[in-house]
């Protein structure tokens, strides 16, 4: 039996092992954050964090994730208590339709966990895999920068806890 930990809770996977992670997250767990955009790994709307790495969940079968830790948008916070990056996206009003934003946030989250001091150029390069159609790119970049600054301010390097992915 495949077991996957999602946002801190372990779940036994009772679906066809070839099911892409995206469908299991949405259908079996009822999560909304990861979106279906292309099913081809071309747009990034389905991005989640697996063991610290940004992963396009539409092209990864659940069987490949046995024992892994997955973080989805829901794992970062709620509308009432948003996480630092989510807070930054709200503060920058960095969404129009918003459909791409969960993937943007999750990819940025993985980057900032690994590289808290990521430069603007690194942020752009990292988000290259993710598409936005409304043209919200300028605000997305500002929001990631704002979120990165907030996370650094809240957690200076010496005090930073070990994050998922760093623990491997």
């Amino acid at each position: 039996m495949t077991t996957i930990t999602v946002n801190g809770s372990a779940h036994e996977v009772a679906v066809d092992p070839t099911t892409p992670l995206l469908y299991w997250l949405r259908d079996a767990l009822g999560l909304n954050g990861a979106k279906y955009g292309c099913g081809l790994g071309q747009c990034g709307a389905c991005t989640v964090v697996v063991e610290g790495e940004a992963v396009m969940s539409c092209v990864v079968p659940v069987v490949a994730l046995d024992g892994k830790h997955v973080t989805t948008l829901e794992g970062l916070g709620t509308a009432d208590a948003p996480g630092p990056l989510q807070r930054a996206f709200i503060d920058e009003q960095a969404a129009q339709c918003g459909f791409c934003i969960p993937g943007m946030i999750m990819r940025a989250e993985a980057l900032l966990a690994r590289r808290p001091d990521a430069s603007d150029a690194e942020i752009r390069a990292t988000l290259q895999t993710n598409l936005c159609r409304c043209g919200t790119h300028m605000r997305i970049l500002k929001a990631v920068r704002r979120g990165a600054d907030a996370m650094r301010a809240a957690s200076p390097p010496a005090a930073r806890p070990v994050r998922l992915g760093d623990a491997r």
Binding site: G33, Y36, L131
Partner: protein
């Protein structure tokens, strides 16, 4: 925003308490008379009332006051991520002097809101904003009047504060104390006492959008996120090419698969429903493999650019401007240029989705359509249901930039739901289905001709545009893809041009410039080789690209500064202000030139009656690769009274980046048999490596002036400004969209 989106009629009625008594959307008989607003037609009607009050004049169709004094705003427009819901709440809160937190809003729903046609054409603030502001002012007057009657004091002695009417002696009535079932059930008056703009407290403020917290935290805010109890997942199997017919289908194995709930076939319409979403996808693939289709004759024109192919088709010509007469004279320098625009795709990041539920006699469809009422009419006609048996509720989807696959998905879901009574059906298109079958923005050709006099002024102007229709939206069932595939198919509606002054293919074909002698002809091409419909800005994208590129050509040919040249031909003071503002904010004259970069400028007033927009850009040209990059954009916009400046900036920033993507990269691919651009590899769009360094949007606020639609005003000017910057950097003039590397290299090689 995280509350469940699924509401049934009983909840709706309960939620409004006693006040629902007597509630009606329109007077008896008016429903038939009211024309739904078209792709820019706006709400029209016989009454001299603000905005959509013309067709829906009852005050309580727009504003309702609950017993606790909280207010619900109702709009027939849809929140598409453009921020309309927040802006409309601001207007109501302002006129009622209520804290924003005490105002909620309900958007487009055929059971509960006014019919405001489509959320399109940059009309929402004009139509719905004007109506809601006026209705809120009416409500304020009615509440004050009621208090004055009860206290037997003059209304002038009373004031409104914090959701209460206050008397000079300190007595107070909360709004909820004053309202009754009949108080607000009255027709609006033509000239309600609106708050003067100088006293605005929340209008003009950057109020945070209400939908964003749910969107960035995984709230159930999209139609894709609906999960009503008992829901099944459905997928369609589209024909392999337009015109292909389903010859045979061996579906026994799929039907026997555990988890498959139904295979639905009607003529060439084929769908499958399953208990799980992945089960539906797998069943879809197996059904596609089990279906045998006829191969239609390959019939699409393959000559390029596609705009020139359009010109080869029969056209119906309309002269839309005929001013002065062509001057004779040997002293005139004459110029002519052709411009083309390819078919382009909406390309929403999430493919279209709908949830439909046949519960007893009533079919409810949750859809991200731009027009719940027209979509209802189309679905009802397709199913043979009376419209009263179909309810369409707008629920947000992925980006909406016109008529994409939303209505098709709603029609598909309705057909599957009819076959599965009692079970909600969530139907989502696959990426390749959305990409291949969505109605595209039409390919277009334009021809601009002009003569300059010895003084460098435009002495003569002639312009023609060849285009398909830009509106094949629902209304009739034949607008739905599924309805065309049924065993008893519905024919697509006859394509029609959208008349001036808004226009369709000829939108913005008439320049705003003061031209003494000018002729403009719309060559309307009814035949549609590819399926087309409304895409953001309609013909204005190509027409403004053409006109503003040509203005730049004329200025350069006569050695005039392109901005000064425009101002020489521009009388409208608001237009002049916007041009000057963009020029100054961009430091057009003083800013040092960056090597390898060109500067470009363009201006238009959208539809010649909505927002004014000027854009100045700097574009990098890589001469080795032909790659262009928009490095800097500075826009100035006059949209009349600004309700939410940050929301407006967000729209304009988006317009600039989206138009940049259209302009540099985008062209629907097709061969003689069908569409070949079916994913993001075959239809590339903007990625982060090409995002500008800076985008500035400067708003020219006009307090008290009417709202001017802004959502589409940036598309055309951005395109022309980019092409003009390329000409500035290289001397090469690119007239065929998109401005690809290949075209840049070819132009540089000349």
């Amino acid at each position: 925003m995280t509350a469940p989106l699924v509401i049934d009629r009983r909840t709706v009625l309960r939620g409004t308490g006693a006040l629902v008594l007597g509630f009606a959307l329109r007077p008896v008989g008016a429903a038939e008379a009211a024309e739904p607003a078209g792709e820019g037609g706006g709400a029209t009607g016989p009454r001299d009332l603000p905005g959509s009050l013309k067709t829906t004049p009852l005050v309580d169709s727009w504003i309702r006051v609950a017993a606790d004094g909280n207010v619900e705003v109702l709009t027939g427009k849809a929140e598409l991520g453009q921020g309309i819901a927040t802006a409309l709440v601001q207007l109501a809160a302002e006129e009622l002097d209520l804290p924003l937190a005490r105002v909620t809003i309900r958007t487009a729903d055929t059971a509960t809101t006014a019919d405001e046609g489509y959320t399109a054409g940059s009309h929402s603030m004009q139509d719905s904003g004007s109506a809601i502001r006026a209705a809120a002012a009416e409500v304020r007057g009615l509440l004050v009047g009621e208090a004055a009657t009860r206290w037997a004091v003059p209304a002038e002695a009373l004031r409104v504060e914090g959701g209460a009417v206050l008397a000079p002696d300190g007595r107070r009535f909360g709004f909820g104390d004053l309202v009754s079932a009949t108080l607000l059930h009255v027709e609006a008056t033509p000239h309600p006492a609106l708050k003067p703009p100088g006293r605005y407290a929340v209008v003009g403020q950057a109020v945070p959008r209400r939908d964003i917290p749910a969107k960035v935290t995984g709230g159930a805010i999209y139609v894709q996120d609906l999960r009503p109890a008992g829901m099944v997942h459905a997928r369609v199997i589209r024909p392999p090419a337009p015109g292909a017919r389903l010859q045979s289908l061996d579906d026994a194995a799929v039907r026997a698969t555990p988890g498959v709930v139904a295979v639905v076939r009607d003529g060439d319409f084929l769908a499958v429903a399953a208990e799980t979403e992945w089960g539906a996808v797998e069943a879809m693939r197996r059904l596609a493999a089990a279906a045998r289709w006829s191969t239609p004759a390959a019939s699409l024109p393959t000559d390029r650019p596609a705009g020139r192919a359009i010109r080869a088709l029969p056209a119906r010509d309309t002269v839309i401007l005929d001013r002065g007469a062509p001057p004779a004279g040997d002293g005139l320098r004459r110029f002519a240029s052709d411009f083309t625009r390819p078919y382009q795709a909406h390309g929403s990041i999430g493919p279209s989705c709908a949830v439909a539920h046949l519960d007893g006699d009533t079919l409810t469809v949750w859809t991200h359509t731009q027009g719940v009422f027209p979509d209802r009419a189309a679905i009802a006609e397709m199913l043979g249901f009376p419209p009263a048996r179909v309810r369409c509720i707008h629920t947000q989807g992925s980006g909406c930039y016109g008529h994409n696959g939303a209505d098709d998905a709603a029609g598909d879901a309705a057909l599957v739901a009819r076959a599965l009574p009692g079970r909600p059906v969530r139907l989502q298109l696959m990426r390749e289905q959305e990409a291949a079958w969505e109605p595209f923005g039409p390919a277009m050709l334009t021809r601009a001709e002009a003569a300059l006099d010895a003084d460098g002024r435009i002495a003569d102007w002639s312009y023609g545009v060849w285009s398909n229709t830009h509106n094949m939206r629902p209304g009739g069932a034949g607008a739905l893809l599924a309805a065309r595939l049924l065993a008893k198919p519905f024919a697509p509606p006859e394509p029609k041009p959208i008349p001036q002054p808004e226009g369709g293919g000829d939108r913005n074909a008439i320049p705003l410039y003061a031209l003494p002698n000018a002729r403009v002809t719309h060559h309307f091409v009814p035949d549609m080789p590819l399926r087309v419909s409304a895409m953001r800005a309609l013909g204005a994208y190509a027409n403004v690209f053409s006109i503003e590129s040509f203005m730049d050509e004329l200025a350069r040919a006569s050695a005039q500064d392109p901005i000064a040249f425009r101002l020489r031909h521009l009388d409208d003071p608001r237009a002049r202000d916007v041009v000057a503002r963009a020029r100054d904010e961009a430091a057009w004259t003083g800013r040092p030139r960056v090597p390898g970069r060109g500067r470009g400028f363009a201006f238009a007033r959208y539809k010649n009656l909505a927002a004014y927009c000027a854009v100045a850009v700097e574009v990098e040209v890589d001469r080795d690769t032909g790659r262009l990059r928009l490095a800097r954009a500075v826009a100035a916009v006059d949209g009349g009274q600004v309700v939410n400046p940050d929301g407006l900036r967000n729209q304009i920033e988006g317009a600039i980046l989206q138009s940049m993507s259209w302009t540099l990269y985008e062209e629907v691919g097709f061969d003689a048999a069908g569409v070949t651009s079916v994913d993001w590899a075959t239809y590339p769009i903007l990625r982060f490596d090409a995002v500008p360094d800076t985008v500035e949007v400067h708003l020219v606020d006009r307090p008290g002036q009417p709202f001017l639609g802004c959502g589409e005003c940036g598309q055309g000017p951005t395109a022309a400004a980019i092409a003009n910057a390329v000409a500035d950097a290289t001397g090469a003039r690119l007239r065929d969209l998109p401005l690809t590397r290949e075209r840049v290299l070819a132009a540089l090689a000349v």
